[in-house]
């Protein structure tokens, strides 16, 4: 009788742990090659950087934000996002967009921006000479 509860409790804990682990996993994968993004017909996270030469367009009336994005090999694609521009978009080093490539545009459902840190370390020589 005792054994039954021990065994059952063990199974429950084991599968519960497995389930919690699986919940943290995500099916959406990161893709830094835009040629693959364009071929894939499902939701992906595309990583790249904003092409500064081609300006972004913010249509405030229809709440559509669009810009060009380039990956590390220089392939470009146009990203369309329903919503307002993220605050720190202009200073972003790299951009991660989640969405799907359809009809020649990348339809993003969310935009993540990665900004350069304010707290860059000084080099060691400077740190030694500067007295606080």
């Amino acid at each position: 009788m005792r054994n039954k509860y021990l065994f059952g409790g063990f199974i429950i804990v084991l599968f519960l742990g497995f389930m919690v682990y699986l919940f943290t996993q995500s099916n959406i994968k990161y893709e830094s090659n835009f040629v693959k993004v364009m071929k894939e017909e499902k939701v992906v996270r595309a990583t790249g950087s904003w092409v500064r030469e081609k300006n972004y367009i913010m249509d405030t009336q229809n709440r559509i934000f669009s810009f060009y994005m380039a990956d590390e090999n220089g392939h470009e694609m146009k990203v369309i996002y329903n919503g307002s521009m993220p605050n720190n978009f202009e200073s972003a080093k790299s951009v991660v967009v989640t969405g799907e490539y359809k009809d020649g545009f990348f339809h993003a459902s969310s935009i993540l921006t990665k900004c350069p840190s304010k707290y860059e370390g000084q080099d060691v020589q400077n740190m030694k000479t500067s007295k606080l």
């Binding site: 039954k4 509860y5 059952g8 409790g9 199974i11 429950i12 599968f15 519960l16 497995f18 389930m19 699986l22 919940f23 996993q25 995500s26 099916n27 499902k42």
Partner: protein, 221 residues
């Protein structure tokens, strides 16, 4: 043990055919819910993710309206003491679970057929994935609702307590099942849905072991 459980299932089945309480409640709920959704959508084009969400909303609430019957009816007729005498707790749970499983499967097959017939955006592209997720989801739904029905059958306000208690327990199942239905409708492969399938499988195993362990305490009173 299994013959006794089958006898209990048969008893429930015939008494259900005679009174048709659960069947009527389920059919009325399904018809009302789906027609309200259809009228409110009108000519609007709705997305696939919305349809698979609505699909599981209807399944959840129709399960809530029909499945509590298994144990509540025993309490209402005062036959639960007789059941105590006849069989072991695990046997009783097996019989009730079998009955609820059959009920859930019939109900959900009807809902799936109605959805496939009436909604433009509910097109199952990967049929095998849909069947597997459907079976796993239904087993989880039936097991969880059977043990919850046993817990609430002795309480006062059964009607309100049942959905309230079920919601947090069924939430992980419903969320994953919505994802799986969406993936099957988008035509994703088994490889794309392996995480979701594993989650639903784990949920089923946890619910089955948990309810067989805990039913002794629920039943012994």
């Amino acid at each position: 043990m299994s013959s006794k459980a089958y006898a209990l299932y048969k008893k429930d089945f015939y008494s259900e055919l005679r009174t048709r309480y659960a069947i009527n409640a389920l059919v009325m709920f399904i018809i009302v819910a789906i027609s309200v959704i259809l009228f409110s959508i009108g000519n609007e084009k709705i997305t696939q993710s919305l349809t698979s969400g609505l699909f599981w909303v209807v399944i959840f609430f129709s399960a809530m309206s029909g499945l509590a019957r298994a144990f509540v009816s025993e309490e209402e007729r005062g036959t639960s003491l007789t059941l105590h005498l006849i069989a072991a707790p695990s046997t009783i749970f097996s019989g009730k679970l079998l009955f609820n499983l059959i009920l859930v499967f019939c109900m959900n097959i009807i809902i799936a057929i109605l959805y496939a017939a009436l909604f433009d955006s509910f097109i199952i592209k990967n049929f095998a994935l849909f069947i597997v997720s459907f079976v796993l989801g239904n087993v989880g739904l039936a097991t969880a609702s059977t043990i919850i029905a046993a817990i609430i059958s002795k309480a006062g306000a059964k009607g309100t307590l049942y959905p309230v208690l079920s919601f947090p327990i069924l939430l992980p199942l419903i969320l994953t099942a919505v994802q799986l239905t969406l993936l099957a409708n988008q035509g994703a492969s088994f490889g794309d849905a392996k995480f979701e399938l594993a989650i639903v499988f784990c949920y089923d195993v946890i619910m089955l072991t948990g309810s067989y362990l805990l039913f002794d305490f629920v039943w012994k009173d």
